[in-house]
Amino acid sequence: MKIIEVKNLVKKFDGFTAVDNISFEVKKGEIFAFLGPNGAGKTTTIKMLTTLLHPTSGSIRINGFSPINEKDKVRHSFGIVFQDPSVDEELTAYENMEFHAALYNIKPEISKERISELLKLVDLWERRNELVKYFSGGMKRRLEIARGLIHHPKILFLDEPSLGLDPQTRNFLWKYIKEMNKKENMTIFLTTHYMEEAEKIADTIAIIDHGKLIKIGSLDKLKKDTKSNSLEEAFLKLTGHDIREETASPKDRMRLRRKMHGRL
């Protein structure tokens, strides 16, 4: 069963195409990774899937609903962990969780139980009454993941979940994502520019570059089709460049500039 369906999705900013006619499907219960360099259009795509941006053209179905016409139904269906922190630093960890539960209209008896369960799970229960501004980057990320799960979403979006995390927290996070996926049969859609991340946790990998979807398939399929030994090699063969390529083309610089202005 398909839980995400995207057809011919396009997003243009003042004539500049950030997402260029992409189509894909995500099956219920799978871990799906968008792999591509910075500025490839990953975050723009997530924003369109999660009702934050209006597509220029194309159609999207999330859990059977359209993020354009049925925003609230779509918003009930997913949880999201953004690339940049989105917790309220002036509130405590516990208050952030309570706030989220209230936004999703969860009854206090139920939310109380879930909040303590989730905070214990991400190892923040002992520090629940501290203001979030005193937390480290990793702790904030863990809090955001816990928060994104309070309302038991069908789909969890993770935008660059391990960006800026230390290896230990990263490993913990991967283990945890896999567990959530298995236990709750939760569909996970993540974006990453780390080969290792896509390799280790994703069932299906979609390679995206310059706003275009280059190839989609399981790790084995990608390797087999490109006759490569590793994902890195497959990526190189498919896109013609390394993911960590340092010299940016004028087009990349333009994307970066847009990104700095908060548009991508």
Partner: protein
Amino acid sequence: MGVIYIMWLREIKRFWRSKARIVGSLAQPLLFLIALGFGFGPIFQKAGGGNYIEFLAPGIVGMSILFSSMFMGIQVIWDRQFGFLKETLVAPISRYKIMIGRTLGGATIASLQGVIVFFISMLIGFKPHNLFMIPFAFIFMFLIAVLFTSLGTAIASRLEDMQAFQLIMNFLIMPIFFLSGALFPIDNLPNAIQILIKINPLYYGIEGLRTTLTGITQLGLVFDFFILGSLAVIMTIIGGHLFSKIEI
């Protein structure tokens, strides 16, 4: 209702935790009260205007509410920069409710500051003419606060950076303040300026405060209340509309 309450609660909690904001927001009205009140007091008296502090105090209460409520809008820009705005924008709730909760929270804080300034003005010599009218003055304070918090939030919804917001605010706040009748009586002013004052929403707020606190009225309390109340509602709706259109 839950959403409005939780947004309101958040504003209150955040404000309560930054004590510097509470103290800082009182410094300016206090300075105005003392410098202008005592500075112009004798001249005002000589010219036959009566006690200037009596005239000025309601104006300064209105000013303190105007300043702090307009700047409440900056919270939206903070939330945008710190990312928290996204959390509220992907939630399955009406953005109008988010906006209303924010506005009521900001307005509660701004009117609370107005109440404090009111009590300070009593310390330096202001005497309300009728104690039973004070609750009505508080209602006017809240309406002024709602009107200008929603205006500030509406403007902030369209902006992304802090500097632009501050620039626009100063550009707006000063004329609104000076042309509101807060500092001087408007009777003998040139016609053009009188018209400017009469299209200024704050004028009706200050009038309402002055009527409830000193008993001297020009337009009548019901009229002031009606104008200010309708403007507050209209502005909240406009603000809610602009807020609901935010894309990130």
